[in-house]
């Protein structure tokens, strides 16, 4: 009985001694502040096929392919990636935003595809910028990060243009993006065109690789700017 009491006392004393050390640890060693996390949201999936693309495949399939390729490339470069789906699964827009917000990511890319237009359309949230708050409204959670989202869109724009990909910048009201607290940009990837002439379709492997590499370069640049 006495030995049990001694053991308890040692445990309690040890725990009390460890508390100050735990509290004095810099926040970077505890939480996600030191991590650089990227969230990739392959739009649509499952019951929601998205747009029907020129090659006949649904938008959900192409966004998943691009998400997997980009995830592999980022992981190879030492960047932690969280994806909202890894298969042809139905994921609610709120669940996608929840995944991104729980990851406390430094960049969130929402991948869409369309046959309309040329190159890549980059969209930031159309919410008016507001100071970040701990308890923001769900549907306007992005308002606190709009300024950083615009900066992220600028980094993506530069990298894509360096790769010779035409970019159109815009702002839109996308429910998933507006509920994210991370710097978020929605990409709508269109075929590569020279005027009306099709240069590379969405299913062109070379175009996909060039695109994914440009995005990875942009995120590396974004990481160096963030740290």
């Amino acid at each position: 009985m006495r030995s049990i009491n001694w053991a308890l006392a040692v445990l309690v004393a040890g725990g009390l001694a460890a508390l100050p050390a735990f509290a004095q640890q810099p926040p970077s060693a505890l939480g996600p502040q030191s991590r650089f996390v990227v969230v990739l949201d392959a739009a649509h999936g499952g019951d929601d096929p998205g747009a029907r693309l020129g090659s006949g495949q649904p938008e959900k399939a192409l966004t998943l392919v691009l998400s997997v390729k980009l995830r592999s490339l980022l992981a190879a470069r030492g960047i932690q990636v969280v994806t909202t789906r890894e298969s042809d699964a139905t994921v609610d827009s709120n669940n996608r935003a929840e995944t991104a917000n729980h990851a406390a990511a430094q960049a969130c890319l929402i991948l869409h595809a369309s046959e309309s237009g040329s190159g890549v359309h980059l969209f930031a949230s159309s919410l008016a910028p507001a100071p970040p708050t701990h308890f923001g409204a769900w549907k306007t959670a992005q308002a606190g990060s709009v300024t950083r989202s615009l900066a992220l869109a600028g980094a993506l724009n530069s990298a894509l243009q360096r790769s010779g990909i035409q970019v159109t910048l815009g702002r839109t009201a996308l429910p998933t993006m507006d509920s994210m607290t991370c710097p978020a940009v929605a990409l709508e990837i269109a075929p590569e065109r020279d005027g009306q002439k099709l240069v590379a379709g969405l299913d062109n492997a070379g175009y996909q690789t060039r695109l994914v590499r440009a995005l990875a370069d942009a995120l590396l640049e974004w990481r160096s700017e963030a740290h």
């Binding site: 747009a51 046959e115 309309s116 237009g117 308002a143 910048l169 702002r171």
Partner: protein, 242 residues
């Protein structure tokens, strides 16, 4: 009189009575026929089939349409001459109908099927005050629909220097048909351009319209075709300034 059987003899007075009744019935039938004809003539004569009001043709006026162009993701202003009704709600519907007719044309710069019938109604209501912070205009983006939903307006934004809505501001509620939404091409770019061009066209023709909301078949609808949020209140002035 009876010769091996019985013979019934009709009395003479009954014969006269029968003939008299027959003649009376005929006379009454003729009189009734004449009365019916006279009554019909009176009815026809009392009905005024002449037009009481000349058919009203609204005079043609200049209407400004903000037309989307998919090739360069732009919104271009076009001025068209249209017969526009006096009633603001009908006027808004007529203008949007013309805009969607352009989109349904074979050579449309922003092809969307449906046409004028896609706008079921446009309701104009007094605009609620929103907690709006003027957006920064430094981003070189083309379309820029800033909005605030009064139900989810950010409390910080409300306390900042928010310009009040001008007096007489109106909220336009555009009720789209389900067939328009189901046939709209899917994509962020194309859906955003449709929403922006509707907002900008409304504001250009009815300057009091500062906010726009959307319904589909009279019900709130999450997105236009899977992307552009239709549950928000859009600020029309920001859309038209692009």
């Amino acid at each position: 009189m009876a010769l091996g059987g019985s013979l019934t003899v009709i009395p003479r007075y009954q014969k006269y009575l029968f003939v008299l009744l027959l003649v009376g019935s005929l006379i009454m039938a003729i009189v009734l026929w004449n009365l019916r004809e006279r009554a019909h003539q009176r009815l026809v004569a009392g009905e005024d089939s002449a037009p009481t009001q000349a058919p009203e043709v609204a005079p043609s006026e200049q209407a400004t349409l903000v037309v989307a162009n998919d090739s360069d993701s732009s919104l271009l202003t076009q001025v068209r001459s249209l017969p526009l009704p006096e009633d603001p709600g009908s006027r808004a519907r007529a203008v949007l109908g013309k805009l969607l007719d352009l989109y349904a044309a074979p050579d449309a710069t922003h092809p969307v099927p449906g046409g004028a019938a896609s706008v079921a109604q446009v309701f104009l209501l007094p605009a609620p005050q929103l907690g709006v912070v003027p957006p920064s205009s430094s981003h070189p983006a083309a379309p820029d629909p800033h909005f605030r939903d009064p139900r989810f307006a950010d409390p910080v934004a409300k306390t900042s220097a928010t310009p009040p809505q001008p007096s007489g501001s109106q909220l336009a509620v555009v009720n789209l048909t389900g067939s328009f939404v189901s046939s709209h091409p899917s994509g962020i770019e194309t859906e955003t351009l449709t929403v922006l061009s509707i907002c900008a066209t409304l504001h250009a023709n009815l300057p009091n319209v500062t906010q726009v909301r959307f319904l589909v078949d009279g019900e709130p609808h999450p997105t236009l075709a899977g992307h552009a949020d239709l549950t928000r209140t859009y600020l029309a002035s920001d859309a038209v300034s692009q």
